[in-house]
Symmetry: C2
Subunit: 205 residues, 2 copies
C-alpha cells in the first residue's frame, strides 16, 4: 500500500501487527481513528497502554489481574474450597459468564504437549499442588478441553495431586444441549452412551 | 463478558469501539497485547496517538497529510497540470498502488447524495474549482464511482468547472480485465458495447 503519510503508515503497521488484522483492516481502523476527536484517540491509546502497564498475573490463581491477588481470589463470598483448573484466562471468563460457578480458579497457562514442547514445568502445576495441599480445599475440578493433550494433563495432575480429603472431578462431557445426535461426532456420542446417567424426571440434574 | 480485571475491560471497550471489531475480537486483541513486552505495547499506543495528533488535511488536495501540503502535492516530479478527482483518501491509495498515474489529486470527501443529506457545500468542490481556474491545469480526471450519486457529482462539477483550456475526463468503464462476460452486470455489459473502442492490434491501448 502506498501511503502519502508516514503517520498513517506507522499506525497501520501497529494495527497490522495484531493477530488476525491484515493491512486493509488496519487501514480501515486507522482512517476511522483519524476522523475521531483527538481526545477520543488519546483515550483509546491510553486505555491500551495503561492496561499493559498495570496488568499482572494473580499470584494465587495466575488469572490476569489489576492487583497482586485477583478479584475472584479476593472475594470472600466465593467458595474457597473449590478450585476449577482451566487452560487459560478465556476459560475463566467463559465459566464466569455462565453464572453457575462460585468457587476459585487455577489457570495452567496451557496443556502438556510434547509436540509443542510444553512440559509440566512450563505450566502452573506446582502452584496448584501447593494450593491443594495447603488445606481447606475439598474439590479440584478439571475444566480442561477433552483433547489428547488435555486428557494427558488431567492424568498428570491427578497423579501428582495426592492431598488428603481433596476430590478430583472433571466437567461433564456429552451431547451439547440443543445439539442434534446425528451431527455429533462418533467419539462424543459413543462415550455419552457408555457414560449415561439415570433419568431424574423432568428437570436437569 | 465477565472480566475480573478493570484494565482489561477498559482496553476491550476501547477496541470494541472501532468499526467491525466486536467484543470477542477486542478481547482476543487485548489478551494478545497483555502478553507482549510493555515497550511494544507503549509503541503501539504511541503510534496511534501520534498519528491523530499529527495528521491533518492537505490544504491543496484534502488528502490526509503529515504536513500542511501533502507529499504528492509537494512532489515537483509529478505532473502539476493533471488533477484526479476522487471521493476519498482510500481511492488515492488505490490509484497510487497502480503506479499508472503521476499527476495530482483532489479529494472531495464524498459524493452528492440528497438522501444522506450531502450537498455540494459539504464537499471540497469550491476548492477544486479554484484550483482548476488558477491556471496551469489542463485536465481534470473524474475517478468517481459509477453510481447514481457519483454520476450526479460528476455532472455537477462539470457544469461548475468552466475554465478555459481545462478538459474534463472520466476513467474508462467496461468489463474488468480477467472478467467473464457472462458474469458482468447488464448495465456494464450494455454500455461497454455501446462505448466500444477500435481494436488496435495486440497490445493494450
Amino acid at each position: 500500500m502506498n501511503f502519502s503519510s508516514k503517520l498513517i503508515e506507522e499506525a497501520v503497521s501497529a494495527f497490522a501487527s495484531l493477530p488476525g488484522i491484515g493491512r486493509k483492516t488496519a487501514l480501515r481502523l486507522v482512517l476511522h481513528l483519524a476522523r475521531q476527536q483527538p481526545e477520543a484517540v488519546e483515550q483509546f491509546a491510553e486505555a491500551v497502554a495503561k492496561m499493559r502497564r498495570g496488568i499482572r498475573e494473580c499470584e494465587r490463581c495466575h488469572n490476569l489481574s489489576d492487583t497482586p491477588v485477583c478479584n475472584i481470589c479476593a472475594d470472600p463470598r466465593r467458595d474457597q474450597s473449590l478450585i476449577c483448573v482451566v487452560e487459560g484466562i478465556r476459560d475463566v471468563m467463559a465459566i464466569e459468564d455462565t453464572g453457575q460457578y462460585r468457587g476459585l480458579y487455577h489457570v495452567l497457562g496451557g496443556v502438556i504437549s510434547p509436540i509443542e514442547g510444553v512440559g509440566p514445568a512450563e505450566l502452573n502445576i506446582d502452584s496448584l499442588i501447593q494450593r491443594a495441599q495447603a488445606g481447606g480445599v475439598r474439590e479440584v475440578i478439571m475444566a480442561i478441553s477433552p483433547t489428547i493433550e488435555g486428557e494427558t494433563t488431567i492424568f498428570y495432575i491427578s497423579r501428582k495431586l495426592k492431598a488428603p480429603g481433596v476430590n478430583i472431578s472433571t466437567i461433564a462431557r456429552g451431547i451439547s444441549f440443543g445439539g442434534e445426535l446425528e451431527y455429533a461426532d462418533e467419539l462424543t456420542l459413543g462415550r455419552s452412551i457408555v457414560a449415561r446417567v439415570p433419568y431424574k424426571g423432568g428437570g436437569e440434574e
